[in-house]
C-alpha cells in the first residue's frame, strides 16, 4: 500500500509553483551543459589533433574517448550537488518556524520522523530531477566507450550518497536554527568545512572519509602527489581481476560511513525538530555575545568585586537616527561586540602572519595570499549578508512603514544604514590590512628602500593603495548587496540573493578574467592585431617583448576592471614591482609588475574605475530606492531636510497639556 505522504505532496506543489525553482533549474542546467560541451569539445579536439595522416578521418578513432570526458564531467555534478543542495533544503523546516505553522504540523497525525523524512524527500526530488537533466549527456559520453558499467553505476551511487549527505546537513541546520538565513549560512559553512577537512585527509585516509566525492576520486581517479592521477583504489586493489559485481559492492561498502553520518544527522534533525520548534528568532550572535557578557561579568564580580574601568557609553541619536540605531542597537554595530569579532578574526590572522614572517624563507608567500583570499571570503560573506538584509529586516519586523512615514527620504535612510556599517567595515578591514602589511614587510627590503626617496614614495603609494582599495572594495560589495536585497520581502531571500549574486560575480569574473582566460586572451589578441596593423602601415619592426608586455598589461587592466578583486590584484602588481619578489606568470599582475610605471598606472586606472563603479552602483541604488521601498519621493527632495520646528497651528502638545 502506497503511503499518502501529504507533506511531501504539499512541498512539491509549493516548489513547483515558485518561479525560482525553474530559474535555478534553468541556470543550473545551462552551466552544467555548457561545462559538458566545453569538456566534450576539448577532448574531441585533442583526440582529433593527436591523430594525423592516415586514418585520421576514421570515426573509430573516437572510440574509448568517453572516459576522460566522463572524468571531467562527474566532478561538475558533484560540485553542483554541493552548491545547490544546501540552498534547496536549508529553508525546509525554518520556513515552518518563520510562518508559525510548525505547531499546526505537530498536531496532525504526522510524526516528527515522518515530517523530517518527507521534508528530506521533498528536496531530494528536485535535486534528482536536476541531475536527471544531465543523464542524456552522460548517455552520449557512455556511448563513446571507455566508461565501464561499474564506473557508471558506482558514480551514480556516489552521487546519490552525496545528495543524501548534503541534504542531511542542510536538514539538520534547518531543524536547529530559527531562521532560514542562519540555516543557509551554517549549511554552506559546514559543507565548506567538510570539503576542507576531506581534502586535507584525502591522501591518507580515503576510505574513512564520509564524503562521497572524495570516495569517487579515490575509487575511480586516484590521488598522486600533485593532484589526481591514475592510481585509483579499484585499479590498485583489483588489478583488473576483481569481478564487476565485487567492484560495485566495494564502492557501496566504502559509502557506509557516509550513509551512517547521513542517518545520524537525520536522526538529530528529528530530535531538534521537536526540541527547537519554537525557539526565538532573535539574533543568535546577540545571544552568544550576551551569554559571554554574563560570564565575564560574573568572573569580574568574583575576581575584582565588580570593578569596571570603562563603562558603556549610552548615546542618543543626533540627526542620523538610522545610522545611530545600526551602530548602537545591532550586534554587528556595538563597539564592544565588534571588538570581539576583531579578536576572533585578527588573532589567527596575526598568528599566521607572524608565523609566515619568522618561519618562511621563501619570497612568494603563497600561503599568505591564500589567507588573504580566505579572510576576504569571510568578509565578503558578512558584508553581503548584512548589506542585503539591511531593508528586509525592517520589512520582516514590520518597522519599515513607520520609518517610511517619517520625512526621511529613501536616500537618507539607505545612506544612514550603510553609514551605520562603517564600524563593521573598519573592523573587518583590519585582518585584511594585517595580511597586506605582512606581505609588504616580507617582500620589501627596507634598508634598500630607505636609500631611494622614489622607492619610499612607491611603498607609501602601495600602502595607501591597499588601504583605499580594501575600503573601496568593501563599499562596492555593500552597495551591491543593498541593491540586490532592496526589494526582497524576507530576510532569507535577500541574504541568499545578495550572497549568491556577489559570489556569482566573484566566481564568473575570476574565471573569465583570469590570465589565459577568455577576456584576457581576447583583449590581448585585439591589442596585438591593432598593433600589427599599425606596424604594417608604418612599416617598422617593433620589439616583440615590450609589445607583448603592453598587450598583456592592457588585458590585465580590463580583467582587473571586471573582477571583484581587481583593485587588490592591480595593487599587488606595485608590490611585486617594487619588492621584486618571485611571481608566477599565471598571476594577473605579472605583466604590469615588470615595470614600476606600468604597475602604478594599472593600479591607478583600476582604482579610478572602481571609484566610478562605486558611484554608479550607489547612484543606481539610491535612485531605485523609493520605488523599491514601496513609496514615492520627489526628485527634488534629495537634500537634507531642514530641521522641524514645532509649528502646529493648534499649538504644541506641551502647551495643550499645560
Amino acid at each position: 500500500m502506497i503511503p499518502e505522504l501529504p507533506l511531501l505532496r504539499r512541498e512539491l506543489a509549493e516548489l513547483s509553483s515558485r518561479r525560482r525553482t525553474y530559474v535555478i533549474r534553468f541556470v543550473g542546467a545551462i552551466i552544467v551543459l555548457t561545462t559538458v560541451m566545453v569538456y566534450y569539445n576539448f577532448h574531441m579536439a585533442l583526440l582529433g589533433s593527436s591523430i594525423s595522416g592516415f586514418g585520421s578521418a576514421n570515426p573509430h578513432r573516437f572510440l574509448g574517448a568517453g572516459a576522460p570526458i566522463f572524468r571531467g564531467l562527474v566532478p561538475v555534478l558533484f560540485v553542483s550537488v554541493q552548491l545547490l543542495m544546501p540552498a534547496l533544503i536549508c529553508g525546509s523546516i525554518t520556513i515552518e518556524k518563520e510562518r508559525n505553522t510548525i505547531g499546526t504540523l505537530f498536531v496532525t497525525r504526522l510524526s516528527p520522523m515522518t515530517i523530517v523524512l518527507e521534508k528530506l524527500g521533498s528536496r531530494l526530488v528536485p535535486m534528482f530531477t536536476f541531475l536527471l537533466l544531465t543523464f542524456p549527456v552522460l548517455a552520449v559520453v557512455y556511448s563513446l566507450g571507455g566508461v565501464e558499467t561499474t564506473f557508471l553505476l558506482g558514480t551514480l551511487w556516489l552521487l546519490f550518497c552525496e545528495c543524501l549527505l548534503h541534504a542531511s546537513i542542510g536538514l539538520l541546520c534547518s531543524s536547529w536554527f530559527a531562521t532560514t538565513v542562519t540555516a543557509f549560512i551554517w549549511s554552506y559553512g559546514l559543507t565548506g568545512l567538510l570539503a576542507v577537512f576531506s581534502s586535507l585527509f584525502a591522501h591518507d585516509l580515503p576510505l574513512a572519509l564520509p564524503t562521497p566525492y572524495y570516495l569517487w576520486i579515490a575509487a575511480f581517479q586516484g590521488f598522486n602527489s600533485s593532484g589526481y592521477g591514475n592510481n585509483s583504489l579499484l585499479s590498485q586493489s583489483s588489478s583488473g581481476f576483481l569481478h564487476p559485481l565485487a567492484q560495485m559492492l566495494f564502492v557501496v561498502a566504502t559509502t557506509i560511513p557516509s550513509l551512517m553520518v547521513t542517518a545520524v544527522m537525520v536522526l538529530m534533525a528529528r530530535v531538534f525538530l521537536v526540541r527547537r520548534a519554537f525557539i526565538s528568532s532573535a539574533s543568535v550572535m546577540l545571544k552568544v555575545f550576551k551569554s559571554i557578557d554574563g560570564f565575564f561579568v560574573r568572573l569580574n564580580d568574583r575576581t575584582t568585586g565588580g570593578m569596571v574601568l570603562m563603562k558603556d557609553y549610552t548615546s542618543l541619536p543626533l540627526f542620523d537616527p538610522v545610522a545611530w540605531r545600526e551602530r548602537s542597537k545591532k550586534s554587528l554595530g556595538k563597539a564592544r561586540y565588534l571588538f570581539r569579532i576583531l579578536v576572533v578574526m585578527e588573532g589567527p590572522t596575526l598568528f599566521i602572519c607572524v608565523g609566515a614572517a619568522t618561519v618562511s624563507a621563501r619570497s612568494d608567500f603563497s600561503g599568505l595570499r591564500d589567507l588573504l583570499l580566505l579572510v576576504w571570503g569571510i568578509v565578503a560573506m558578512i558584508l553581503a549578508m548584512k548589506g542585503a538584509t539591511i531593508i528586509s529586516t525592517e520589512r520582516v519586523r514590520e518597522t519599515l512603514d513607520a520609518l517610511l512615514s517619517t520625512p526621511l527620504t529613501a536616500k537618507e535612510i539607505l545612506t544612514q544604514k550603510v553609514a551605520g556599517m562603517q564600524r563593521l567595515m573598519m573592523v573587518l578591514a583590519i585582518p585584511i590590512l594585517s595580511v597586506h602589511f605582512t606581505l609588504l614587510l616580507l617582500n620589501v627590503d627596507f634598508r634598500e628602500i630607505m636609500s631611494s626617496p622614489a622607492t619610499i614614495l612607491i611603498v607609501v603609494w602601495y600602502t595607501l593603495g591597499f588601504i583605499l582599495t580594501t575600503f573601496l572594495t568593501m563599499q562596492i560589495l555593500v552597495w551591491l548587496a543593498v541593491l540586490f536585497g532592496l526589494r526582497s520581502q524576507s530576510q532569507s531571500r535577500s541574504a541568499m540573493t545578495g550572497i549568491c549574486l556577489i559570489a556569482g560575480w566573484v566566481i564568473v569574473s575570476s574565471f573569465l578574467g583570469r590570465p589565459g582566460g577568455y577576456v584576457f586572451e581576447a583583449f590581448s589578441n585585439i591589442c596585438q592585431s591593432i598593433q600589427q596593423g599599425d606596424s604594417s602601415r608604418s612599416g617598422s619592426e617593433n620589439n616583440e617583448t615590450p609589445t607583448m608586455q603592453l598587450n598583456q598589461t592592457i588585458a590585465a587592466v580590463i580583467c582587473c576592471m571586471i573582477r571583484a578583486d581587481g583593485g587588490i590584484q592591480a595593487n599587488e602588481g606595485v608590490l611585486v614591482a617594487v619588492g621584486n619578489p618571485y611571481v608566477e606568470k599565471t598571476e594577473l599582475y605579472y605583466a604590469p609588475s615588470r615595470s614600476i610605471h606600468a604597475a602604478l598606472t594599472v593600479a591607478t586606472v583600476v582604482f579610478l574605475w572602481q571609484v566610478l563603479l562605486l558611484l554608479l552602483i550607489r547612484m543606481l541604488t539610491l535612485r531605485l530606492a523609493p520605488r523599491m521601498l514601496g513609496r514615492f519621493d520627489q526628485e527634488s527632495e534629495y537634500h537634507t531636510p531642514e530641521v522641524q520646528h514645532f509649528t502646529s497651528p493648534s499649538g504644541t502638545i506641551s502647551e495643550m497639556i499645560a
Partner: protein, 322 residues
Amino acid sequence: MSVVTQQTIPAISVTNLSHAFKGHQALSQVTFCVMPQTLHGFVGPNGAGKTTTLKAICTLLKPSWGEIQVFGSSVRADPISVRRRIGFMPDHFSMYRQMTVFEYLDFFAAAYGLQLKQRDQVIHDVLTLTDMDGRRNDLISGLSRGMQQRVSLARVLVHDPDLLLLDEPASGLDPRARIELMEILRELRRMGKTVFISSHILSELAELCDSVTIIDRGQVKFSGPMEVLLESSDELPTYNLRLAAVYDNVITRIRELPGVNDVKEPEFTTGRDFNIQLASSLSANDFLKSLLTLDLPISSFSQQRRDLNQAFMDLTTRGVRT
C-alpha cells in the same frame, strides 16, 4: 483669519482615487473628505481597500489615479510636507524591540528632525499623555501589547502632527486597553487633532466618531456625519415607547390610532416597551398628541435610530470579494 482658513481646508481630501494591484482593482473612484479637528471613522470589510487608502494618504503608495490632499498639500506633489503633518500608525506594531521606550521615541523624534534640546520635553509630554512616563526606561520587548500600543501612539505624536492616521489601533487589545485607547483618542480630538481611524469595532466608532466613511469592494458606500448615517434609512420612522406600568391591550389600542402602521413588543421585555412604526405623513408630535388621549402613563418616547452595525450591514455586500 488663519483659524478660519484652517477650518475651511479639509484635513484630508480624496478625489477619484483608484488603484490596481496586478490587474486587481483595489480602489475605484474613492472620494471623501475629512474636516479638521474631527474624529473620522473609516470602516469596511476585510479587503475593502482601507489599508490601501491609508497608505496612499500617508505617501507610502503611489495611486494609479486620483488626487489626495492633506491640509491642502498634494500627496503626489509634496509628500515631504505631508509626512511632516501626519502621524501614521500601521495595523501592526512597528516597534524596535531592543530599544527602551525613551530611545524609541528619541529615534523617531530625530527622524522627524526635532531639535535635540526639545526632544526630552516632547517625549516626556507624549509619555504623560499616553500614561507611559513611568515606563520610559523599560525595554519595549518587555511591555504588554496594550503598553506597546500606547508607545506606538506616543511615537505618532512625537512630532506633534495635525493629522493622525490610525490603522486598526485597537486590534488585539483587551477591553480595558481598548477603552483607555479610545479615551486618549477623545483627548486628542479635544486638543484639536484630526484623527482618521480605521477600525472593525463599530460600536466604539459610533460613540467616538464625528463622521464616517464606509468602503466596500474598493468603493465608498457612505461618507458624511455619523448622525446622518444613523438617521438615514429608507424604512418608515420607528419610535420606542416605554410605559410606566404594564397595561392590557396596549398594542391594539395604539394600533387603532391614526397614522400608525405597526406596533410590536420587542423580545425579552416586560410588557412596558413597544416599537411603533408610523406612516411617513404623520409627525412624531401629532402622534404623541393622539397617544396622550389614551391616558397611558408614558415613561419615555424616542425615535429609534439605526446603529452602526445595522448601517454597515445595509451598505456593504455579503460574501468575499473575488
